[in-house]
């Protein structure tokens, strides 16, 4: 049976789920909850998590010297190579197992790599692609806050059009970022022998179920987690979950999975709300809304989202019972 909130609360009433309090992420940041949800699921299913982190808010704010907010085996290497690093850890584990040198051979481990969108969509993409292509049994989780937030909100491949960043500000000439958000899910699904899914903390049961699936999948998994940055999305500190819900209801962040090429939408939305509602709720789009061409730009985004949603439904239908391998 799938895990539920009551069960997790019972399991973790008197212990920390791998990440501890005392970290220095902003009040209301979604990133620690992404880590917490994943690690609680793994431990509740009997796995000992091993955590690797790419440089970014989650890493910097949980490891400010001389403190660490981790109580599971933890490794940080660089910004661009968390997938390679964790693939090395996983390989070392298999080598030790082969030589019969594990202290406790019965123990089940879950190898997690967490990266921000900058560390995943952009600078860490090569390392991630390599690790997934080699087929390491690990779970890569991107907490997607749509920008390089730890260094003060620079544009990344995950930033949506019209969003205010320091490197593509919304001004008189340009409306902020003009390119679409990169579709990392499709890029990762293209590795074929992989389980790929999107998650959101606003749908906790779906989140737990997908982590469980990733843990049981006999190969690499890639999970894209929607992770509002209250600081640079210019939303109030209590709004991470509200904005996440709106992202799903508007089709901005569809919840689905691709298992060896088979698409499945895990949260059906009968009628998508206009994406304008998602945009209007966040201060990072305030300058966009002031421009005379705001409607035009929003309509373009809307059209893209509608098409992507229709395409997803067609893909679900077309790939049913047809795994690529």
């Amino acid at each position: 049976m799938a895990l539920n909130i009551m069960q997790l609360a019972t399991n973790f009433a008197d212990k920390n789920p791998g990440i501890t309090p005392g970290h220095r992420l902003c009040p209301g940041c979604a990133a620690p909850n992404v880590a917490k949800f994943a690690l609680m699921t793994a431990q509740s299913l009997g796995y000992t998590p091993i955590v690797g982190l790419a440089t970014g808010c989650l890493e910097v704010s949980t490891t400010i010297f001389p403190f660490t907010a981790w109580n599971v085996p933890y490794i940080h290497n660089a910004f661009e190579n968390v997938a390679a690093t964790v693939s090395g850890v996983e390989t070392a584990y298999r080598a030790l197992a082969k030589k019969g040198r594990l202290v406790d051979p019965e123990k089940k481990y879950a190898f997690f790599a967490f990266g921000g969108d900058g560390g995943t969509y952009d600078i860490g993409l090569q390392s991630l692609s390599g690790a997934v292509e080699r087929g390491h049994k690990f779970i890569y989780i991107v907490y997607d806050n749509e920008g390089y937030m730890n260094t003060g909100n620079q544009r990344s491949g995950a930033t949506p059009p019209g969003s205010q960043t320091t490197t593509q500000p919304v001004g008189k000439k340009l409306p902020g970022k003009v390119q679409l958000k990169k579709n990392i899910v499709e890029i990762m699904a293209g590795h074929e022998n992989v389980y790929v899914a999107t998650v959101s903390t606003s749908e906790p049961m779906d989140f737990f179920k997908k982590i469980e699936k990733a843990l049981q999948f006999d190969g690499p998994s890639f999970i894209a987690a929607f992770s509002p940055c209250v600081r640079f999305w210019r939303i109030s500190e209590d709004k991470a979950v509200d904005i996440s819900k709106l992202a799903i209801e508007t089709g901005y962040w569809p919840l689905y999975e691709v298992e060896r090429g088979v698409y499945r939408i895990t949260k059906k939305v009968k009628e998508l709300k206009p994406v304008k509602e998602f945009i209007k709720a966040q201060g990072r789009f305030r300058n966009l809304l002031k421009r005379p061409d705001a409607e035009e730009i929003i309509n373009e985004v809307q059209e893209y989202i509608t098409r992507r949603w229709e395409r997803l439904q067609i893909l679900e239908e077309a790939t049913k019972d047809k795994p690529i391998r």
Binding site: I5, R24, L25, N33, K36, N71, A240, V241
Partner: protein, 110 residues
Amino acid sequence: MAELKNWKELPIGGVIDKPATAKEYQTGTWRVIRPIYQAENCIHCMFCWLYCPDQAVEIEVVDGKPKMKGFNYYYCKGCGLCANVCPKTNDKLPEEKRAIVMKPETEFQE
């Protein structure tokens, strides 16, 4: 609040040789609004516990079921997410009917 060590007391190379030391770090000093728990209105749904980014919601297991106990102000940063996700708290409810009420920290200063 954790006392900072001097260079002679730190491990060579600045290695962190103990896990979970951030728990000594008091993040509650950041708080400008404080969540107040009103147990009589609570249905123990655990949403506040699940969503608190700082694990500042204390719970206990009674007869096999998790129960909300209150807030840990050593860590609570006052983001208000617990109140936002609480099904027994919203702006339309009068304060005395809510399970969580957010109050300015200035009300608690001596």
